[in-house]
């Protein structure tokens, strides 16, 4: 088992050179604590739709690599989205799911992955051929690098500890992030 903050630090160089879409809460706050960049977008609500946004960006800009940083609670809210990702197989999309088996930001109640639901297996059965689960930081780095080098859609489920930052609200305004991100995409 790894800590998500360590995992984010380890893959940060790959995030810096990609378009990144994250879910709300701990993932957004932790990535910002490492270092915000204009090519990072944090979907601070609409649980489940980070992967759909990533798909929209990946299909619109096939020459750019997109990394979606998702969570177990969010993926469980949009399992159908995995079948849509699989259907369109964007070669430039890497889907990382941090699975802490809980809804950490709203009291830490356990999700269905705590009782055996296997998100990598669901992704694979949805038609995402390159779906795997990793439990150590080193294995995550290898899996992300492999997915980038392979240039095929991948879902990487990273099992992480259910720990997060003390606060989720950061100094970055939602609309500030949104317009900065759009401007960056227009210029690159």
């Amino acid at each position: 088992m790894m800590r998500r903050l360590d995992a984010l630090n380890a893959i940060y160089p790959r995030l810096q050179e990609s378009i990144v879409v994250t879910i709300m809460g701990a993932v957004a706050a932790e990535l910002q604590s490492i270092g915000h960049q204009p090519n990072f977008f944090y979907l601070q609500h609409a649980m489940g739709l980070a992967s759909s946004m990533g798909l929209g960006i990946a299909l619109s800009r096939p020459s750019k690599r997109v990394i979606v940083l998702d969570g177990d609670g969010s993926v469980l809210m949009n399992l159908g989205g995995l079948t849509t990702l699989a259907r369109y197989q964007p070669k430039n999309l890497v889907h990382v799911v941090f699975d802490n088996e809980s809804l950490l930001s709203v009291g830490g109640f356990p999700t269905a992955t705590s009782t055996g639901s296997d998100l990598a297996a669901i992704a694979h059965a949805s038609g995402i051929q390159h779906a795997c689960t990793v439990t150590e930081v080193e294995a995550l780095v290898v899996a992300v690098n492999d997915a980038i080098a392979r240039r095929e859609l991948a879902t990487i489920v990273a099992k992480v500890e259910a720990v997060g930052p003390a606060a989720f609200v950061t100094d970055l305004g939602l609309l500030e992030n949104r317009f900065e991100f759009q401007r960056w995409l227009r210029q690159h």
């Binding site: 489940g48 929209g56 619109s60 259907r87 609309l175």
Partner: protein
Amino acid sequence: MPVSTSSSRVIYDALKASGIRLVSALPETWLVHLIRMAEEDPEMLLIRLAKEEEGVGISAGAHLAGVKSAMLMQNHGFLASINAIVSCAQLYRIPLLMLISYRGEFGERDPWQTEGGSVTEDLLRALRIPFAYLDSPAHVASRILKAQTLAGSANKPVALLLCRDLMWEEPA
């Protein structure tokens, strides 16, 4: 199937003329020709959804990435998308063009469509989503263009209700 091919063509051509290059859709009877036209058009990216709210996320991503998109859905799909519309498209000021087939209005024969029809307009108003009716081929092109213009200038979702008089040709 008496879904109007000619009206569907007028709608599709207007979407193309207004620069739409990505359409997300979940099939529904009145949308069959529109979906087929998108499917057969090499310049159009058709995204088939499992559930309509995915389309809000896909359109948001496409917009930020510089591609104009539209969503094709039934009014029940709109009902299923409300959280995404509020907490993605409205929260993040995303122009979202929604073409919603307005089932359950006067003339509806399917009993299962009737509840959705009676709440559609009230929900659009409650969400402060500007909307207009597409009920005659004569104004389709101008209303689609104007809806898209407002969506872009206001940075928010807008809806066009595809009405029975436009979409359905009653058998003689």
